[in-house]
């Protein structure tokens, strides 16, 4: 019956039941003020009792007669996700990692148990690599985790897949997942010209950035063409972001466009265009820079031994400014050295061997530099080597890992050294950092370790363990090395657990070491070992053949 259909929410009242309304009104005002019409009171009975009797009867009758309400249009179905489900053990591990996420270790002492939150990124990356989809019931926790930690977002959203996006659309708290849905699959296929065109013309800024990056990755020329088609109508901030997308797949084919961008109205756009061009050693800009740079830096043949002499530029003319040089130095720096640094940084490194009589980078770096210009010149070369991804120059500027950082060539800044390292092949990086740690210990290795491939290849892993052992024997406290310890938990190869096992024992306290340090070290090593074991188990769970 249509009329009998009502939504059974609390206190819902059948509209036609006037008697019930009467009871409610009387109860609200009080029976002393207003007796309900139509209520029969038994002889000897009181009015409130009769009202409650009638109300009880009505209430039970109403509850017993509740009918379902009309169904609304259901949500559109979530798109199919063809990826395979996680193996059972891995899925339970995910729940555990997501549950552990909310509980960061208390500051200070960390105890012997692994830090689950730190393992989540690795787990997600591996699961994605193996092509699994997230279990549906875990999606809310996964989206919550991604909401709280931006570093997890790309991997978490990839694992969540189309159903994750479907869910995120229903809950405003997960709106972040819909922004720049790079991994989400809502972007058209980069090969679909019409769809790409439509989104490029009408999409939101974030969508357009993601689209340009996707197209550029697949077909650099098509990406450039897409950007060029609307370049003159874009806003300056947008131009800057779009121009940055060209970094991927940069080649000589982009030179003409970039050269034109050197005349852009926005100074930041001009500077970015110049930076990109200078990373193309064969570009006209690189040629112009090389021309300017070699007039400033040369070999003094009059000296007893070959020495580099530097004559910094005397002006920064409009041509130089058009090529991306900033004319005004930051406070505290001299104009001329500022201009020189920029010139050398933007000049192709390939121009120097010719300038220095056919010497290779190592020999050039070893040449003495006259008049205290060495720091300025080497620093500029370091920036150039990073920008141009030049391994030979990076190697020369890093020098031998055994040389103390302060006296070596190139730069003493660890951040810049880490950048130089990142241009070397993985194995060479690991080897260099291993030797560095063997020579100088752990205290300065943190940033360098960060650029090494995970899991750490030998001999790097062994070098780190040895250095930790030495630090322990030297009697310092483990938290002086908490950064490296944390990295080691995430990056050591799980096989290293066996080597570490012997270090987890609590040693007898020697007299000359810091009190209690032995116990803390044993705890720290225990945590390291159990974390490595856990990572091994995680990997095994994910790679075990599905039943």
């Amino acid at each position: 019956m249509e009329t009998d259909t009502t939504i059974p929410t609390a206190g819902a009242v059948l509209a036609e039941d006037g008697f019930w309304e009467e009871l409610v009104t009387s109860a609200l005002l009080g029976t002393d003020r207003r007796a309900p019409a139509g209520l029969a009171v038994a002889p000897g009975g009181d009015l409130p009792g009769a009202l409650l009797d009638a109300a009880a009867l009505h209430t039970v009758r109403r509850r017993a007669g509740l009918r379902p309400g009309p169904a609304v249009t259901p949500p559109e179905r979530a798109p199919e996700d063809p990826r395979g489900p996680l193996p059972g053990a891995a899925r339970r591990r995910l729940d555990q990692l997501l549950a552990g996420r909310a509980a960061p270790s208390p500051a200070g002492r960390r105890g012997a148990a692994p830090d689950l939150a730190e393992l989540l990124p690795q787990w997600l990356a591996l699961a994605n690599e193996l092509g699994y989809k997230a279990p549906a019931a875990a999606l809310p926790a996964l989206l919550d985790a991604a909401r709280a930690r931006t570093d997890l977002r790309p991997q978490a959203l990839q694992l969540a897949g189309p159903r994750g996006l479907w869910l995120a659309r229903l809950n405003p708290e997960w709106r972040f997942a819909l922004r720049g849905a790079g991994a989400g699959g809502s972007l058209p296929d980069p090969g679909d010209r019409e769809a790409v065109r439509a989104l490029w013309d009408e999409g939101l800024f974030a969508e357009r950035v993601a689209l340009l990056a996707a197209v550029r990755t697949r077909d650099p020329a098509a990406g450039l063409a897409l950007l060029a088609s609307t370049w003159t109508t874009e806003r300056a901030e947008d131009r800057l972001m779009f121009l940055d997308s060209l970094r991927a797949g940069l080649s000589g084919a982009d030179e003409e466009f970039l050269e034109a961008a050197l005349g852009d109205r926005s100074r930041n756009v001009r500077a970015t265009a110049a930076e990109l061009l200078s990373a193309l050693p064969s570009s006209a800009l690189a040629g112009r820079m090389a021309g300017r740079a070699v007039t400033c830096v040369g070999l003094d043949r009059t000296a007893e031994s070959p020495t580099i002499i530097v004559e910094a530029p005397h002006e920064c003319d409009t041509g130089m400014q058009r090529d991306g040089l900033a004319a005004t130095p930051p406070a505290g720096r001299g104009e001329r050295s500022w201009w020189l640094g920029q010139l050398v940084e933007a000049a192709p490194l390939s121009c120097w061997p010719r300038r220095f009589g056919g010497r290779d980078p190592e020999e050039i770096v070893a040449l003495p530099v006259a008049d205290d210009w060495q720091g300025e010149l080497h620093a500029a070369w370091c920036r150039a080597a990073v920008r141009q991804r030049d391994a030979a120059w990076s190697r020369a500027l890093l020098g031998s890992p055994a040389t103390p950082p302060a006296t070596g060539p190139g730069t003493s800044s660890l951040a810049e050294r880490a950048q130089l390292l990142s241009t070397l092949p993985q194995e060479e990086r690991a080897l260099w950092v291993a030797s560095f740690i063997a020579a100088h210990g752990m205290s300065e290795a943190f940033q360098l370790l960060g650029v090494c491939e995970v899991p750490w290849a030998e001999p790097l892993g062994g070098a780190v363990i040895d250095a930790l052992d030495i630090a322990r024997e030297a009697g310092s406290y483990p938290w002086s090395f908490s950064g490296v310890m944390g990295l080691a938990e995430r990056c050591l190869a799980p096989e290293a657990a066996r080597q570490l096992e012997s270090l987890t024992a609590r040693p007898d306290e020697a007299e000359d070491v810091s009190p209690g340090a032995g116990g803390y070290w044993s705890e720290a090593f225990q945590r390291l070992v159990s974390t490595l074991r856990l990572r091994e188990a995680m990997r095994a769970e994910l790679t075990e053949p599905a039943l």
Binding site: P8, T9, G49, A56, R63, R67, A137, P140, N171, S530
Partner: protein
């Protein structure tokens, strides 16, 4: 039958945890690192866990109970060490090896199991378990009944006064009737009435339509008062229900039911005085739905904990009254392997019918356990609803269920397609407690 060797899954173990903090603390101990001297055998697991102290805590879990023993001073139950030990066993089958129990574990296990067996013998013996002096017990019961009667009469008087003056007065600040009346009902040894009065106190000003809700609940309280005052004239089963509602719990004296029980849901409700844990079970052979209640003093987790989604072999003894849902578990509850298919269910209309029928035996029921076999969660203007797959009829979710994280697990599991949902269906709407997707029907997804 050797089902004792079945390992619990990590999910099931985590479901035992009394709260989130223990869940996290237990997870941290679920690795080999802190443990030594571990072993398992005959349905038990034991080990020593290195804590902050110098001597490790000895922990032993009897998985047939389940029951726990740990030397740590924690008041949580099970404690993080017991959880960690079970998690270690769940996550890595090789981590804990079969062994003979050491003395400290063996003694406790023997004592526990011996007690369990003697309890079984006792209940089998029939006459055992009765009070020592039947005459004294009868006099005590009469005295209590008399106090309850005077309490019920007093409550009737107060309700009548309230109705005479008007419910509107109940919204005035400083209206002191509820707490004081609740205390009077505690004095009268009628905890059921005391609880009801406290709930009445929460209604005034609780949102649109509160006078209607207050009148309904006052009327049902009045109905209970009247029923108690005339309880001698009621048919026996209904009289039992009335006594249970008043707070005189009927002993579990029904015929024990042995079955493989699927644990559907476990959740706690706490007030300032008491934590009440409710565990819903479904008998996979008998088709029975049973409710286990376990209580903990304020701030302490109740002792009984079962892993959601597990299938346990064991015996339940039902209580009389209130639809005979409530039951007492036997001492032995052994996990068994096997598919845990969801209980058979029906459309939303049938769920409301079942609630309506249950009201005939117990008009004070707020909800009734039901399974909806193919429903889609959808958002209507007033909030979320569960709609039949044919898109015609729907049940709204209760306001409380709409604000729980479990709602999103349900929506995610469904993805817009029909799922099976177990929950409590009542006059406030539907509270989903567990769900199953057709793709993974053996996996119980807890929603609370």
């Amino acid at each position: 039958m050797n089902a004792m060797g079945v390992r619990w899954t990590a999910d099931q173990v985590l479901a035992l945890a009394p709260d989130d903090a223990s869940r996290r603390a237990g997870s941290k101990l679920g690795t080999a690192g802190p443990w030594s001297g571990t072993g398992r055998g005959e349905g038990a697991v034991w080990g020593r866990c290195k804590g902050s102290g110098r001597v490790p805590y000895r922990t032993v879990v009897d998985t047939t109970g389940p029951a726990y023993l740990c030397e740590c001073p924690s008041r949580k139950f099970p404690c993080k060490h017991a959880l960690g030990l079970l998690l270690l066993q769940a996550s890595d089958g090789a981590a804990i090896e079969e062994a003979a129990a050491p003395d400290w574990a063996g003694q406790w296990l023997t004592a526990r199991r011996g007690h369990a067996e003697s309890a079984v013998r006792k209940s089998g013996g029939g006459a055992a378990g009765g009070p020592a002096d039947p005459e004294a017990a009868r006099r005590r019961a009469e005295r209590r009944a008399a106090r309850i009667t005077s309490g019920a009469e007093e409550l009737e008087q107060r309700l009548a006064d309230l109705l005479r003056g008007g419910l509107a007065a109940a919204e005035q600040p400083g209206y002191g009737l509820w707490e004081e009346t609740a205390a009077r009902m505690v004095d009268a040894q009628a905890p059921g009435l005391a609880g009801r009065v406290r709930e009445l106190g929460a209604i005034p000003g609780s949102g649109p339509g509160w006078p209607v809700r207050l009148l309904e609940e006052c009327a049902l309280t009045h109905l209970l008062d009247r029923a108690w005052l005339g309880v001698d004239r009621l048919p026996a089963p209904f009289a039992t229900t009335v006594r249970t509602r008043i707070g005189l719990t009927a002993p579990a004296e029904g015929v024990p039911v042995r079955d493989h029980w699927l644990v559907l849901a476990q959740y706690d409700a706490a007030d300032a005085r008491l934590t009440t844990r409710r565990i819903w079970l479904h008998g996979t052979t008998s088709g029975r739905t049973a409710l286990l209640l376990s209580f903990g003093a304020a701030g302490r987790a109740p002792r009984l904990a079962l892993p959601v989604g597990a299938v346990l072999d064991g015996e339940l003894t039902p209580h009389a009254g209130s639809g005979r849902l409530r039951a007492e578990p036997g001492e032995q509850f052994v996990p068994v392997e096997g598919p845990a298919a969801p209980p058979p269910g029906g459309p939303v209309g049938a769920a409301l019918d079942a609630y309506g029928r249950a009201l005939r035996e117990d008009p004070w029921l707020d909800s009734w356990p039901v399974t909806l076999s193919a429903v889609v969660p959808a958002r209507a203007e007033y909030g979320w609803q569960l709609a039949d797959a044919d898109g015609r009829e729907a049940l709204p979710l209760t306001p409380a269920a709409q604000s729980r994280p479990g709602l999103w697990r349900l929506v995610a599991l469904s993805g817009g397609a029909p799922v099976t949902v177990f929950g409590e269906c009542g006059h406030r709407g539907f509270t989903p407690l567990a769900a199953w997707s057709p793709e993974t029907p053996g996996e119980t997804v807890p929603l609370i």
